[in-house]
Subunit: 363 residues, 4 copies
């Protein structure tokens, strides 16, 4: 079993990591890090558990420690970070410097030139930058270096996943718009979204979210430099992305109404677009990763789907659902995309990234 | 007082007409029409009242009659129709043929060449086609003819209202997209939207809605033929409109995330766009109509507004609120528009249309 | 495998039966009955599937037939009825007369003197009336007779389950009150509860529900006649039950705030009451039934639990959760009980009843 | 005009005070107190306004000051406190000592022997203790002393209001139970109730609420000592009260399912009970207070009412609605009571208390 640690273990993302790891065939929950306030307590005493599944027995007795690469955390083969951005920066770099593989849900290092920004069902090939670094160290006889891999923003994940096979098959996308209807679980829960803000209401704004979608999409759909050491995001001329983000009264599952235009004109036919997404199988599935979705993209034909309550758990939340694919009078095609924000958009993505690393012997 | 009748009086739109008319300074609730099942009963016994305000005393005792231009309904100066589309066609034409002014919320006659499709804070000048018809009859010494004026679809109303001053000042809009987050009151309540469909859920589809928005926008922003007797909607080449519609857990108030590109390039500046909407005063206000909004368009500067719960009742629901106006990487500008679907998007629009007709002596 | 049929297969209870049976280790989904409108279609074409889990592959191709004891339905060893009350009466009796074991969620036969009304984690011993009947027929050399077993009302199930061990250990309950906060799934979904009724609202009334709770509790906690052939519900003097029922915006899981007084005074101590519920193991668990809950009653000590979203799925919904057990200034003790209305309160109860019948060789 | 100040002006209760006072015929919003963080700012800049009505123009420019009896606050004739309990104690006593009439929504002084705990539509006669104190000071030629009057807990207000006429007419109540379904506005909004706690969920616990209901009911329905200077709450033997409190997804309006037994047996008839509540007119109405409800208690006969969305605004929220009055198999009668928690249960109660004081020349 691969020893796994979780940083920010009492937070909402940390709790999801713990749920996923506690039943995992490959990873073993070995250490938990949280704030000094929680350190020294048993996890069951430190956490206000808010998941719909019960707190796993295997996690209850683990002694929470501070988020430093010491003790049990130092023994981990991989460390998952659910830390808030205000503390993630220093902590994650310390673990990297201690030689650890850090898989982070925080935004701090997403824009770093040599840090992969990964949606595991979309651009796992970007992890080659890490692979190259490890290979180089090995060749030089150096110790295995630590590294950070960033999980993308949750609404970015749902957006780019169905684009990947389209770009691979039909060439670059020129214009891309998304209007999101985002679940409240994405905001955590201490306090998270206030009840009064979502009861009989919408909040048509999520701080920083639109910028993240517009920038991260360009990195994820972008390239690696010729020497294989850096990322070369698409420029604003290569793909123009526009996002409008809304918070609504849904617990889990981000819905996005997207529209796109291909560079190549005339564009592929409607049926070609749908078939291309239907046929797509992500690399993680090909590698046999245990959490990889059987169908990466579910293309639904029912007129009123996908719906969060009915479709968010397809393939345990690791797949995305696409529906209502149809011609768009303004761009080429419009469609509705649903993704599970705490699975493929956060902790689940982290676990699947680690499974890919493990399958490639990079842990 | 002007005698007013309501057709479809027990339905959700009918109930709203009754609420608005029962406290109106000019119109007097005189007659109520409903299905044969309700006919003959006192209104209080016929209706399942579902409004947040109490059933007005003045309506309780009115005897409901069938929807025919007879009895008290024949005495009305104006008839408001909240009928469902499956019965509105025959009934409304019968009232028109009986010489009545019919203001209809149904979709049946919206696409008729000589029927105005009106958002009263946007295109009241389209009622001139009716005015011309009345003038012609008068000149010929004929009896005053009946006519039908259609209220637009609710989500169309919110979309076109803020566009009107922009088009007037900066010329035609070339491309227009809207993703709607629509309230459940728009679907009526027998049964309306099922609870299980909107609790922790979104339904990304409303039957016929996207087509209505895309078509009605072109008529409302379009022209009148040279002889003043017909409408000449914009062609799909003149303005391309794309709508994506969602039903969500909000009681009242449609939110729309819209984006637009002007024909004229470069487009007006952000500040010009906002100032233009801020300065706009609708004709109904200039005519002194009692329900006309003081500010037609509220341009909000708070980063997270408009919100349905907080902003839908501005100017009693007759105004629209616009927020987050900002440059759009794909088109020119994007913004969030909120309109009260049962007021400016349905019954309230009907009442304001009648007020304009009254102010112009057309009733 | 035991062949199972489902009547009312397209309704909400029928869908839940199908979900549970499609993955069952003992029962095999063999036949589906629905209205003549659906008969002749493949199930996937006949149903509007509204479950959060996907329609099982094994059910998709089954040809729906009319609800008559013919064809594939006649081949079933057990028939689960999710029929509405207006048709359940005739259909269920026809299946009984055809020699079938019918497990019904409908209310029609619950008050019949010789029909067991069963909450499988509470009063499975009431099925002895059926057992006796089968034994008698066997002794007489007659063919195995058909029979009907009724599933209790959903909110009754949650109420009586925690009472059973208390009554067994501390003697009869004298006074019992419950105020329910019931989920909308209990009302089905065509149309079920209207969205406008539960969005920012409560409906403090559910037709017939309070009477069901007050009466069914007395049968379920009641006795069997001395000759073992009939039920002898407790009289209103033996236990007075008062229910107040509310419909609220929860998808699944009925919460009940209950209060009770024991006949025996002074009553058991608070700790005795909690320990008694904690220690209780239902017969189905002792019999090794696959769906039986490991812990029948979860006694929670957290101050703000049970909560529907967090606790309804304990033991896959076959357990009940009890929290906030505390002295009551008016009666003896008050507590909050949560039960999963579509599992232990409906289809799940039916399946667990069948498992008990199977374990006892009564099918 | 009577000069009014508001303490805790930026909080949720403070905002409601400001809304009510800004349109008041007698009181004039004169001064606003808040935390040192807000002091010195214009109110519009200090507050995050979260009301469904817009921030009144008259309040926008008022300079917020610290909560001390100085400056504009010292000029007020009456001071309304919406302060949190952790700061209300010291501040309110300072205003009292400075000779001010303080009407407080905080819990700090509710149990003080000489402080009236008032539901203005229920026990305004308890303000006589203050009246006596003022009279005594006047007789002694002393300066008019300051005093504190406490507004009751919100769910207590809804509970006791309909009991008052029953007790007056039919004598003491012996046993009283209430299960509450409470709105989230009662918890304020920074952060208030978390969205994830009420979306598809109930929280069956509100800290301290049950104790407040059980104790405050005994003071409000209790007596004044013979010398008129102190309160003599009913003992636990005189009335036993039991409350179970739940937080649910309703914005405004507390629903309570109550049950009661009269001391006098046999109890009054069902019709007598309903008629008694229907006939009740509160003293504030008799005194002509502008906010007093026209009907204090609305006794509804519809089978499924009261409902929060439909009934909470009766008489602008100053009335309570009672429905489903019916015999209770355990106590005498059960019924559903709805009250508007931010009106008659908080700020509105404060304003109505002040109106009564003004009508009696006690300000």
């Amino acid at each position: 079993m691969v020893k796994a640690g979780v940083l920010g273990a009492t937070g909402s993302v940390g709790q999801r990591f713990i749920l996923l790891l506690s039943q995992h065939p490959t990873f073993e929950l070995h250490a938990l890090g949280a704030s000094p306030r929680s350190a020294g307590k048993k996890y069951a005493d430190a956490v206000v558990w808010k998941q719909t599944e019960l707190l796993p027995e295997s996690a209850k007795e683990i002694l929470v420690q501070e988020c430093k690469p010491e003790g049990a955390l130092a023994e981990c083969d991989v460390v998952f970070s659910g830390l808030d951005a205000d503390v993630a920066g220093d902590v994650e770099i310390a673990f990297k410097n201690a030689g650890k593989a850090v898989i982070s849900n925080a935004k701090n290092y997403r824009r770093e030139k040599d840090v992969p920004l990964i949606v595991p069902i979309c651009n796992p090939e970007h992890m080659e930058v890490v692979e190259a670094k490890l290979r180089a160290a090995k060749e030089k006889g150096e110790q295995k270096p630590g590294y950070i891999i960033c999980i993308s923003n949750c609404s970015t994940a749902g957006l780019v996943a169905p684009l990947k096979p389209l770009v691979e098959k039909f060439g670059p996308i020129d214009l891309l718009t998304t209007t999101t209807l985002q679940a409240i679980s994405g905001a955590g829960f201490s306090p998270g979204v206030s009840g009064i803000d979502v009861l009989d209401n919408i909040v048509p704004y999520i701080s920083g979210e639109e910028e993240k979608i517009e920038w991260e999409t360009r990195k994820i759909l972008g390239n690696i430099s010729d020497d294989g050491t850096e990322f070369a995001p698409l420029s604003e001329d290569e793909i123009r992305v526009s996002a409008q983000c809304n918070r609504i009264a849904v617990s889990d599952g981000h819905t996005e109404c997207i529209s796109l235009r291909f560079k190549q004109q005339p564009p592929p036919s409607l049926e070609e677009v749908k078939q291309c997404m239907r046929d797509y199988q992500c690399d993680a599935a090909k590698l046999g990763c245990p959490s990889a979705p059987k169908n990466t993209i579910h293309v639904l034909e029912e007129v009123d789907r996908p719906q969060p309550r009915l479709d968010r758990n397809r393939d345990a939340g690791y797949a995305v659902s696409v529906g209502r694919v149809r011609p768009d009078p303004v761009l080429d095609y419009k469609m509705v995309v649903l993704s599970h924000n705490t699975v493929i958009g956060a902790a689940g993505a982290g676990v699947l990234i680690a499974e890919i690393l493990h399958a490639k012997n990079l842990l």
